[in-house]
Subunit: 785 residues, 2 copies
Amino acid sequence: MNGDHRTLHVINGSRKRDCSSLFEPDAWSIREEGFHPERSRFTESIFSLANEHMGVRGFFEEGYSGDSLPGTYVAGVYYPDRTKVGWWKIGYPEYYARLVNLTNWLMVGVELDGERIDLAIGRFRDFRRTLDMRRAVLTRSYVWQAADGRETGLTFTRFLSLADPELACISVTVTPLDHAAVVVFMPALDGGVINEDANYGEVFLDEVERGLDPEVVFLTMRTRKTAFDVCTAMTVRLRLDGAGKESEKIPFAEGHRLGWRLAVPVAAGRSVTLEKYVAVCTSRDHPRETLARTTTAKAQAAGERGFTELLAEHGKVMAEKWAEYDVEIEGDVCAQQGVRYNILQLLMTYQGRDPLLNIGPKGLTGEKYGGGAYWDTEGVCFPFYLYTDARVARNLLLYRYRHLRAAEENAARLGLPGALYPMATMDGRECHNEWEITFEEIHRNAAIAYAIYSYTEYTGDRSYLFTYGLEVLVAISRFWAGRVTYNPRKDCYMLLGVTGPNEYENNVNNNWYTNLMAAWTIEYTLDALDLLAREDREAHEKLVHRLGLTEQERWRWREIQQKMYYPYDDELGIFIQNDGYLDKEQITVADIPPEDLPLNQHWSWDRILRSPFIKQADVVQGLYFLPDRFDLDCQRRNFDYYEARTVHESSLSPCVHSIVASRIGYREKAYQLFLRSARLDLEDLNGDTRDGLHLTSMGGTWAALVQGFAGMRVKDDRLSLAPYLPSGWRKYSFQIEFRGRRLAITVEEDKVVVGLLSGEVLEILIHDRPYRVSKDQPAIAALRA
Amino acid sequence: MNGDHRTLHVINGSRKRDCSSLFEPDAWSIREEGFHPERSRFTESIFSLANEHMGVRGFFEEGYSGDSLPGTYVAGVYYPDRTKVGWWKIGYPEYYARLVNLTNWLMVGVELDGERIDLAIGRFRDFRRTLDMRRAVLTRSYVWQAADGRETGLTFTRFLSLADPELACISVTVTPLDHAAVVVFMPALDGGVINEDANYGEVFLDEVERGLDPEVVFLTMRTRKTAFDVCTAMTVRLRLDGAGKESEKIPFAEGHRLGWRLAVPVAAGRSVTLEKYVAVCTSRDHPRETLARTTTAKAQAAGERGFTELLAEHGKVMAEKWAEYDVEIEGDVCAQQGVRYNILQLLMTYQGRDPLLNIGPKGLTGEKYGGGAYWDTEGVCFPFYLYTDARVARNLLLYRYRHLRAAEENAARLGLPGALYPMATMDGRECHNEWEITFEEIHRNAAIAYAIYSYTEYTGDRSYLFTYGLEVLVAISRFWAGRVTYNPRKDCYMLLGVTGPNEYENNVNNNWYTNLMAAWTIEYTLDALDLLAREDREAHEKLVHRLGLTEQERWRWREIQQKMYYPYDDELGIFIQNDGYLDKEQITVADIPPEDLPLNQHWSWDRILRSPFIKQADVVQGLYFLPDRFDLDCQRRNFDYYEARTVHESSLSPCVHSIVASRIGYREKAYQLFLRSARLDLEDLNGDTRDGLHLTSMGGTWAALVQGFAGMRVKDDRLSLAPYLPSGWRKYSFQIEFRGRRLAITVEEDKVVVGLLSGEVLEILIHDRPYRVSKDQPAIAALRA
């Protein structure tokens, strides 16, 4: 992966703006020419598809005996994998929830005259794989070369229906180019799947039921312990040169794999196509008793409607999505491709359909991090959902509200009051299993409080805050009040033994960001309580009574907020990331030999911990969240100091630094970091895309453009923009929803145009000047230099 | 175990000096009256036997279906168990070496008229178990009560021969008291044993060979990966009322268990005895090809010599040991019992027979900590061996010298120069698997350097230092020089990101003890190099050349040593354990509710880490090692501060605090801590004796008496004593070896008497006054008040 790290350096260290050569620069597609087995897992991740209900990695229908992670996942279907740690410590969770790698439904084995097609073994040419981002369709083609030189063309097309998320369709076309051949298709379902990263190699699935009749095949697997039933059904259609064709289906079954064998003699130059229709339904959505019937019926109905019709229906939904979610960039195809790829993956992964679900760091594209919810959601992803569809943002808040009792139990297990939201969770219970993270990376609590604040500020809707949010805020404030240590010698409150967002330091005292956000949470909680008291005295009384909140407790909170300790260095004029940080050797990223990057793949953990290098936005995350508290000079001093030491080895980092860089006028830096976020996976900049896509940072890419380049935020209860055009760009545009309105924002070389697509007339701020936006009259303002 | 924790409080918090009621206070035995299944694993640990070659826990010959850890171990026979961690970090070791729980050779099943004896199921009375410390023999007896009321007496005796360490003997006597009965013995060997704490439940052993003929049974098991062959052979003899008796042996075999069934009709009131002779030989000591032959021959020869003769031979060796190693205490049977128990276990576990071996924290009495060598050896155990038999101490030093290359590789893996000795090891490679320990608890290096110093100072023999020790010292100094961080703002050197001896704080900066000992190592290394240069210029030149040691490097070492940073608090006049320690809430052990102790079994790890409570001697360990550097007031201030915050939840802690308490005149405190060390296991003071005995701290008990109460050390190249008599004691005495002399030291109420048992006339210091000791003329000095 050295090539990729060089690319990273180009992006990070210079003005060069070429995309890497892995994929053709193209505004609407991701295209791979030629097959690269040495990065097969990487491209499998890149070509992942999903439709919020389920996801499938870009592995091969016909099977592949080389390195591969054939992963198919269904949102919310997980297994509580017994915790694995070196030495048990009191407080560790019982299990790590893992999305289960479920029945592989992609399989369509292909034999040509008795020879099994396997790209790891045979010869082939003209391999090409394309993700059509406009339609969310993946195609793949190559010409297979038999030992005797005869050639056969193969084309594979797949999509996961956005119109009916329980449906996936695959089409495989085989064309013996210069010979007649017997083509055998072996469409199958395989429930004999294991999670590659299971802690103890346990099998997560049992077979419950199967069916293998001439019309439909189905297989119901049940997750152990959690007892989710997942039924997968398939049916197929054959077409010869486009016309329907019948063929005998010879059933086969081996272990948990079952399917059919269909043999078709094909003349030279003619094409045979197998269409496979797959339905995947679970007991999360359907009664267990009728699950198999529901699923098989759905697969059969799909087969009857046919590939073309289903694809058209799917494409129509995708087109509607793009009409609202597209971000257009003129003059920078690399950025355009990256942003669209990020948006597409976000739309395919999570749109708030199921409020019991959340968005995992890898979405539905891999097994790492188990598929649970992390603080990524509130820390980075939240604005994308908030600004495009506040109902989704509200669902994300409700997700945490539902887990409040579990978060209280989590705090109690550590001997602390209030609520500590988990570092990683599927059902509200903590799953993470490293003391320095599980017990210490407590700043995650603040991000959840901050999301409540953001939602309330952006929507102007206080009902969530008063009905649900305050209860969460009080519980988090109670946690902070229990977690601080009063230092009588210095007369201040400290947070000892924490891990900040920078996970390259562990168990530090007084992480500036954590202290800042803890005090902020308390302040916001107190303010929100006062607001409720003013607006609805009775509701306030009831809440205070129900939560047992005393005046004394509030007094103590106020004291903690006022006497919080913030490490600061007078000489440098910067906040100190945490006590002792400045005692480290103060070298910068420029001092790291390029071949040592990323550090987490080259340096011992000991060396990383003792280095000054920062994994991800830490002090800068505080500047991002609370910009009004720090003047621009202060922000610049801190940004200068910490950006020079930040290696951005968390995908969540470049977008946050980019936004702050935009704010302080570091436009070239902002652009570099934006591009790093936008193309993180496409160029494998962190060297770990093989494990899955960095879904949560994709929301950050969008935010880097909207909050960064366009300077969008809420000021004095009004939508406010402070846009600029990154150098070299001719134009960019995006849409947002704001308090019942849909707005289209276009930033051009000399002006910004804000149009109202729907909703009431609105006053907004552009560069702090008020503008009126109506359907007839967009706001047009000149750009600042 | 609440009862035990109360006991701990009594010992720690008051002047009460009763032993707990678990075992009868007795100077020469450990006796349990009545069986207590709720603490079966605890007593199994207590009644462990060993003979340096092998060890066996105190489980039951006849089998026991209740809670039990039937452990039989052979020193040096280990399995490299694949590392288990939550999240892999670069630098982690590949495996954790574990002593293998080997073929269970203790088994002698007993049936009475077809009823299998099992104390977990049946009724019985008068259970008694006694460890005869004088002879190192374990006996156990009870009266079994059949359902119909008939009673049968059973007596079990076992010893692991100290005369021939490959031999163990068991005798089982059955006496139907009031009825005739058919007694069936089922002596067996069982190789189907697993290590309870295997990381992934792997089986460590394969069967290689077995034999089951009428004279002898044997079973050879081979450890996987390491391929140690361990052959266990047995033969038996029957005696009826003391006279030899023949009986048919019906062979049986099931899985890896094989043995004989011997049925004997016994009249009422008469006794039948089965003697089982076991030999355990390994490919570590014998050629693989003849291993079975060697082992079976040894078992058969033992059977021919008979139980009585072998026991006498064993007892004779033990008596010789006691003649040299016994510590006599008059006036305090609890202390006497504890000290003898500690000495017995030490003598049974490690006497330096095999210089390739070391002493594990649990010796051969359990599986925890894998049986590898920790810094316990040098940190606490070393003086016991050094003062009683310097050849053993030298072997312990050579053990580390042999591992120097591995220690260099260990440092290199972390990206550091020089040598980092492992936290835990069997073959020199690091086995520990927690970053905060493995990578950070680097003070262990200093203990290894300090042992070289101690040996050289005590023996006066510089040959080890010059031939081997200096190479180790240079490698360790190089490690420190690579590990420090220069702080230009403060113009000093710091050690960042370390874990001190107090493992209840992790990843701290500037642990005072570590900084102190790192600088001390460098200083001692430089001094030793200068000494060599003075004494043998040529050898010095050769060494310097061979190690590539430059003047520049030595200059840098000197600078580091001179500019090392030592955290100190002016207001309190104490060394600060590490940066930030005083920011913690400064409560003391007296503030902990008794039911919360030990903290590590009641508090979340988070709470422990954030508390000021100290697991084990940390600053005080520095005072212990380098007393001459700190005046008594300084030592008192630090002791007062840290002892009040130390929970002593490491067994290595009370002895060290006790010695420092003795030095600073805190006699009652010194006694309490001594007793806590001496009776740690007998009273289960740390609540974890069930996992095995705390072998390494047993050496510390001895040191607390010799270095503490008797104030023994070397001063100006002379043996020096500063003894006192703990209150309530009438007298104590012990022997040591010093530079070819054997000395007997007796401390009485008004005087100390030092006699010379062998060797040349010697001048020693008592309370800093010189005395001459010859064979004719002991030194007699008055005690100081």
